[in-house]
């Protein structure tokens, strides 16, 4: 049986562009911004990179199709470059491609880069687009908040939690992420907010108000990975290695089958179980040091705390309100501000999460640095809608942990 990816690949360098409304630059420049930082961090030059994976979620609205835009923008040496798209999980998918290339021995050093230029549409929120011929005939063309908002009503119905209590817990999720984002110079939204602001914000999709929704941002992030041996040969110490990389994709059961009640994300539970097994983690609540999850909306983060097995099912609201997930809590979630405030340039998001865990492991997170040395950092990327989606989980950690 396959033994998994644990400790077979190390992060050699990472980079991340400043996220936000980057009216000043194209997607290509955002890629260059992230890439030059990663190259410098890795201490190599372009000629050492043997293969690359590019993630972009909505290429039609920004850099266009194929992997060519990355190859051209970064002037890669005519190496194999593959473009991946898997909804909002695309960033982690690019990372997975690069890590697997190194683990397989096909490449010594590989690059994963994710980018999204969303602010060229002329309107707020994600672009409206086709989701396929069949979907356009029988599906619901809702917004992203509309899709995820449905978790809330179903969660309330399942757990009998009063709407105002859930709304308060959701508000705390956002207040916490704003507090964290304020300390992050690369974050899109850097203004702390209070509970009342969240609760009284204009409604976007019942019960999600404006501050229950993450930012739609421009940005790019990238990772250069290699084997632990090569990393050491290049002079790297205290390596951050990949412990687990898992992906779970809906097969239609939630949307077409019977049994799913809409109050949780089925694929997250499956991917989490596989990831913990691959990483050798038996009690995630006590063993994980940091979490970067797909908080596209406050309710998503809340149910994800349960789906990842950190809070008991039906108990996330209590943990959230207790400050368990705050930056100074037991297990910080979104210490960099998360999608909520760091921002959500789709193709870059999965890599941005790994970037933060990597910085924190190395004690390079500046003002927001966790005092306690982190050991395992989990990142969780969710694409699609609660009823049909792609869940990607990456766990990175100190070598040997």
């Amino acid at each position: 049986m396959a033994s998994g990816i644990k400790d077979r690949v190390a992060i050699l360098g990472m980079g991340c562009a400043r996220f936000g409304e980057r009216w000043d630059v194209d997607g290509e420049t955002l890629m260059v911004e992230a890439y030059t930082e990663a190259l410098e961090d890795a201490g190599i030059d372009t000629s050492s990179i043997e293969a690359a994976w590019l993630a972009v979620g909505m290429d039609a609205f920004n850099i266009g199709p194929s992997a060519i835009p990355a190859s051209v923008a970064l002037r890669l040496d005519n190496i194999p470059v593959t473009k991946v798209e898997n909804y909002c999980a695309s960033g982690t998918e690019a990372f997975r491609g690069a890590v697997y290339a190194v683990a397989s021995g096909a490449a010594d050093i590989a690059l994963a880069i994710g980018v999204e230029k969303l602010k060229d549409t002329g309107y707020g929120g994600l672009p409206v687009r086709s989701r396929g011929t069949m979907f356009d005939m029988i599906g619901v063309v809702g917004s992203a908040p509309g899709s995820f908002a449905q978790l809330a009503g179903a969660y309330q119905a399942r757990h009998g939690i009063p709407p105002q209590d859930l709304k308060r817990a959701m508000a705390h999720v956002s207040v916490k992420s704003h507090a964290n984002g304020a300390k992050n110079p690369k974050a899109h939204l850097r203004k702390p907010i209070d509970m009342d602001t969240v609760i009284n914000a204009p409604m976007v999709a019942e019960p999600l108000g404006l501050f229950d929704c993450c930012g739609v941002s421009d940005g790019a992030a990238c990772a250069i990975v290699t084997t632990p041996e090569i990393a050491r040969a290049l002079g790297k110490k205290d390596l951050v290695t990949i412990k687990a990389l898992q992906l779970a994709v809906s097969n239609g059961w939630e949307l077409q089958g019977a049994g799913w009640d809409g109050s949780y994300v089925h694929t997250t539970r499956i991917a989490a179980e596989r990831a913990y097994r691959e990483a050798g983690i038996t009690d995630p609540r006590s063993q994980l040091s940091l979490m970067e999850v797909h908080d596209c909306f406050s309710i998503t983060e809340l149910v994800t705390m349960e789906d990842l097995g950190i809070s008991p099912v039906g108990g996330a609201a209590r943990d959230v309100l207790d400050g368990f997930y705050d930056a100074d809590g037991t297990l910080p979630c979104q210490i960099d501000g998360g999608l909520k405030c760091f921002g959500h340039p789709i193709g870059a998001s999965g890599l941005r999460m790994i970037y933060e865990n990597y910085l924190q492991m190395q004690g390079r997170a500046g003002e927001r640095q966790r005092r306690q040395q982190p050991v395992f950092g989990l990142s969780h990327n969710l694409g699609g809608m609660p009823n049909q989606n792609v869940c990607a989980i990456a766990i990175v950690g100190l070598e040997g942990a």
């Binding site: 309107y123 005939m137 509309g146 449905q150 949307l255 077409q256």
Partner: protein, 492 residues
Amino acid sequence: MTGIVAFGAYIPRARLQRAAVVEANAWYNPALRSHAKGEKAISNWDEDVVTMAVEAARDCLADRDRSDIRDIFLASTTLPFSERQNSVIVKEALNIADEVGTLDVCGSQRAGIAALIQAMAAAPETGHNLCVASEKLNTRPGSEGELLRGDAAAAFLVGRHDVIARKVATFRISADFVDHFRESGSAFDYDWETRWVRDEGYAALAGAAIEGVLERGGCRPEEVDKFILAAPIRGVAASVAKQGGINAAAVVDDLGQSVGIAGTAHPLLMLAHCLQSAAPGARILVLGFGSGCDAILLERTDLEIAHPAPFGVGGWLARRRAEPNYLRYLSLAGHVEIDRGMRAEFDQKQPLTALWRHRKTVLGLVGGRCTRTGTVQFPRTDISVAPNGHFVGTQEDYPFAERTARILTFTSDRLTYTPDPPAYYGMIEFVEGGRMNAEFCDVEPEDVAVGREMRMMFRIKSIDEQRGFRRYFWKAAPTATTTKGSSDGQRN
């Protein structure tokens, strides 16, 4: 014996308050104040003649087997498609097999009654014909027509056996009497002077039709128990009846105060309403006026109504939401171009190839049932969704349209584009199995909750304004026939 076997109707839920229309337009035409009372039924942006016809047909057919329908007639002067047969869309939505005749009947206000007469004339020895009339007339803002006209549909199943109303006689007059006209492609009617229409049109032509049909039917005017004449001119039905020797008490309420006059569908709507309470032996005279005048004399038999319409005119009238917002009506009817935002720019081009491949799924809401495991699902797929057996190619058709569902998840979305925000949608689960993500229609904030019972309705999904095409699909509406808003003006 040929006649009506079953009947049904459809009236849209929103009722525009006439007072709101008058208040907005009286600055220009104070004479409109004489029409300030009552309300009229208005279809939403996602309803048209086809969707209303489907609902009326479902009401008529109730839980009957549809496999013995031979011909489907759809009468209207406001069909959404000039080419792409409208009645065949109705047929697809009703999930009736392809081996059936379909025919659009149009061109005059007489089309509805003409279609009913033809459906009866062509009634098969066994089986039935379905005749539906539906109207959604575009009226010019500030016009008298805007106040008098309403949207509605009615449907009749006709045949030679088990009739609840038998055809006694028919009489037809065809004459190019142009009381109003609408050139192909034009938005609005052009009306001639009411007094001339009343005297030379209704009095003369309808009078002759009454005389003709009663003579053929061997019926004296005073023996007519119910007299149905739909006219968008006040008092005409009563004066025509009087002139023809018909008792004033026989003149049937034209629903003008609650629905408005629904064009060519209106006499059929009134007939469906009348049949709900007509006593055995009652003689019902129905006129269809326009480019002449058609008349049909019916007699209610003593047969009980075997499959009563789930709603009927009365049920639809009670399922009501008062609409006091004239500007909202103008926007949804397309008379005012409000700022819809960039999200409305999304290209709705329909690949016609895919629509053809999936017409049962899309238009008929037909899903699949795995013949090995019994698992039902929507849509039907090559490999079953059943976790206990992903069998390949084992599915048979499984229709969902007439099945009750319950809300599993929901939201009201103010970000996504819809002409009538917010967009309500969520996942629904059918009581007998199967689930889908569905848009909700005819819904109020208090109607959406986990577990709430829903009924599927055939609606417009989106409109491709660039190419003039419209997608149809099914939406979920609350089953409860709630009444929203003040009933002031409904029947006063």
